[in-house]
Symmetry: C2
Subunit: 320 residues, 2 copies
């Protein structure tokens, strides 16, 4: 079973309006709310694809109740611990034609150390049923910065593999525990490595830095420019056609695909290919985490993967 | 006691962000949530000023629970009936410097006829304790269009006076029941009267049309251009300095001021003056319905009221 951990779950609200302009009050033509936060998007994608998954996390207040109810409605197996405060909401507004949008993210409820410890304790009960643990997204205020490191260590203690998809100090701290795969985007990679990450060489150099700090493999996502995977002597680059669609949650779909590959014991190159196929497939849905297995199958041949040795000599220009 | 009726209560969320630009994800620097909908803003202003008020209305789902909890925290005496569905939310985003904003309004939950009838039945219990009834704001989908007319008739049956602050078909239908005061803004007045409402003469003519259809008095708000009050042979215009501040909820503060005047049996000219003073006072708070009694006292001398007979001969130009 795959376990996803979402410490800062959210109620993601998306409003569609006619034209979106500042300085105006708009009547929402459509309002969509779903449980979110990156880990829950991963769990939704896996559950939708029929992969056994348990979504663990924290939720608070009446927003937390809405999050739990939505997971229940979606048929996602969840182990949500109630904590104090009120879970955060994210608000995204998009115009009917999709040509304008704006997003607002709340920070999340302040987490007490007692609640955090109680969550860690509860993890022991589920980790023994788990082969893959996905740690995703931001931490609520008050969460210790070593949260992802400790969870990775606990997962390893139970023989599980870890995918870490996060940013900032908690991501960098988590590297030390040796997660099997980390999945920074270009901006997170640049911050974590202190590199510009403009050329392919720089991206690969930054991935190597994260490996040197503990990550066993790095899959760096480059948006429309594809993705790069490195692990020890191995290096692969994936490219795919630039497709229209909804990019929200594409990174979470990639993580879901990577998690399934780890379950299957796939090679790094296949892990990269599968992750990219899931990300491409997710573009077809207007909501994060809605990935159709058929769309993954169709997307797979569109992903072209090349070994890095061929590429590095040729490319010292910017990746794009 | 004043009774406010808010059929489409809302959770009003306001986010402050650094710079507000389209096509960007923003971290909310501040998030403020409060129970809203125009009638609850009126009740909040009255309660804050120490006026006896009961806030009646409908609320649904976990958003409704948040609305009820906020009323409770604010110490506002409330009689909220739970209905099916989920209460609406409004989202307003403002930039830190206040130079950019955007607002999104949900529509509200679908109201069943059974819930509506049950609310009407519950009104009998509170109307006998009420001298003034304030009917404010939009109706949830499914509410009969004669809702405000029936509530006005019920209030009159109990000897109470009615202030009706609404728009659209339900407002126009409600006029027939003879509410003591209606408070359209210029755009609502134009729609209800079919007049352009550009010149003062046109505004007064439109007010007379609403009186002909049943309203006993009309207080038409003109934003920075002040307000006009008409009733039978009487006509008054109020002007005031253009003040900076938060205009959200100023109309609701005006209605609160008018309701207190009706309790006191004030003349039309004093009702107009008091209403405008409450509206001016409300500009000082960043949130709707927070009106300081001291600010009302300070604003009152800034409102200059003139009889309309002097003005109409002189002004055939646009009001502004």
């Amino acid at each position: 079973m795959i376990l996803t951990v979402t410490l800062n779950t959210a109620l993601d609200k998306t409003y569609q309006v006619g034209e979106l302009t500042l300085g105006t009050a708009h009547r929402a033509e459509e309002a969509h709310a779903q449980a979110g936060g990156k880990g829950l998007n991963v769990a939704r994608a896996l559950s939708h694809a029929g992969v056994a998954v348990l979504a663990a996390g924290l939720a608070a207040g009446s927003t937390g109740l809405q999050i739990e109810r939505d997971l229940d409605l979606a048929g996602i197996d969840a182990a949500i611990q109630r904590v104090e405060g009120e879970s955060r909401q994210t608000v995204t507004v998009v115009s009917r034609r999709g040509d304008a949008w704006v997003e607002i993210d709340e920070q999340g409820p302040e987490l007490s150390l007692a609640s955090w410890q109680s969550f860690l304790d509860s993890m022991d009960d589920v980790l023994h049923r788990t082969s893959i643990v996905v740690l995703s997204g931001s931490l609520p205020p008050g969460t210790p910065v070593d949260a992802y490191r400790r969870l990775t260590e606990m997962a390893h203690g139970h023989g599980a593999q870890v995918v870490l998809d996060a940013a900032g100090p908690a991501f960098q701290d988590g590297l030390a525990a040796g997660p099997e795969v980390v999945t920074p985007n270009r901006s997170e990679l640049a911050i974590a490595s202190g590199s510009r990450c403009g050329t392919l060489m720089e991206v690969v150099g930054a991935c190597r830095k994260l490996e040197a700090r503990g990550a066993r493999a790095v899959v760096a996502t480059l948006g429309a420019d594809g993705a790069v995977a490195t692990s020890g002597a191995q290096g692969w680059r994936a490219r795919h056609p630039v497709l229209a669609g909804n990019p929200v949650g594409a990174g979470d779909a990639l993580v879901a695909g990577i998690a399934t590959s780890l379950v299957d014991g796939a090679s790094l190159v296949d892990t990269l290919r599968v992750g990219c196929a899931w990300a491409l497939a997710s573009l077809q849905s207007p909501w994060a985490g809605h990935v159709e297995p058929r769309a993954v199958v169709e997307a797979t041949p569109q992903v072209v993967v090349e070994p890095m040795t061929n590429l590095l000599a040729a490319e010292t220009e910017d990746v794009r």
